[in-house]
C-alpha cells in the first residue's frame, strides 16, 4: 500500500506544473533586428523567503555589458518562478536588440 502511495505521489509530482509566469513586458521593437542579445539573472530561496530583489539589477547590468555603445531596443522581459521541492528559483530573462548608431 505504502509503495503504491509513494509511486502515485511521484507520478503526481511529475505531472505538476512547476513554473509560474509572473510578468511579461515588451518595449517598442526596432526595424533593425540583426543583433539579438539575451541575458538572465536568478535568485534562489527556501520556501519563498527572500531578503532582496537585487538580482533584477544584475540582469540590467549584464544587458548593458552586451551593448556598451549602442541602443538596446525591443526589450522583452520575462519574470518567472520555478518551484522545486521546498526551493524556489526566481528568474528574470531578458532578450533585446543591440543597434549601433
Amino acid at each position: 500500500m505504502l509503495k503504491n502511495t509513494l509511486l502515485f505521489s511521484l507520478l503526481a509530482l511529475s505531472l505538476t506544473g512547476c513554473v509560474g509566469l509572473n510578468t511579461v513586458s515588451m518595449t517598442q521593437v526596432p526595424a533593425q533586428r540583426n543583433n539579438v542579445i539575451t541575458t538572465s539573472s536568478a535568485s534562489w530561496n527556501f520556501i519563498g523567503i527572500n531578503f532582496s530583489n537585487a538580482f533584477v539589477d544584475e540582469a540590467v547590468d549584464k544587458l548593458k555589458g552586451q551593448c556598451p555603445t549602442g541602443k538596446i531596443e525591443g526589450v522583452y522581459t520575462k519574470h518567472q518562478t520555478t518551484g522545486y521541492v521546498l526551493m524556489f528559483k526566481r528568474e528574470v530573462i531578458v532578450s533585446a536588440y543591440c543597434n549601433e548608431v
Partner: protein, 148 residues
Amino acid sequence: MPIKLKSILGLSFLLMGGCSQLHHVHIGDIDQSQGTLTPFTIQVNELGFDLAKTAEIGAEVAKSSSTSEDLELVAFILAISNFGPKTGNPVYNDAYAAKVLAEVIKVCPSKKLTGLTSVREATNVGPVSGEVVSIKGYCINNNQTNNI
C-alpha cells in the same frame, strides 16, 4: 506544546516572514550611444496591512477558546470580504505611486532619460508590509554630443 514555546515559534515565523517579494519587473530600452549614463533610483512606498491575517494571529494567541473562535470568524469574514485578485497587501492610499513621474523628471537635469526599470515589490513582516514601487534608470550626460 507549552504556550511560551508556541509564542516564540510564532514570533520567529513572523519575523522570518520579513521577506522581499517581487511582483513585477519591466526593463525599458537603454541608449548608451549618446554619452555616459548616470544611474538614479526613485522609490515610493506605502504601508500595506492584512487585517484578516492579524485576526488569525489574534485567534492563535487568544487565551480563551471563545475569543479564539470569535477571532477566527472575524478573520474568515475579512478574508472572504477581500477575496479577489490583488497585488500585495491592501493600502490606504491609492495614489502613492502617482508621484514617481514628477520625481523621475526632477532627478535628471539633462532631461534625457534611458533604461527605465520599473519594479513593483513588497517587504512583508507578518500582516504588515511596505508596498514599494521602484524606478531605476539613467540620465544621459551630453558629454559625447557636446564634444562633437
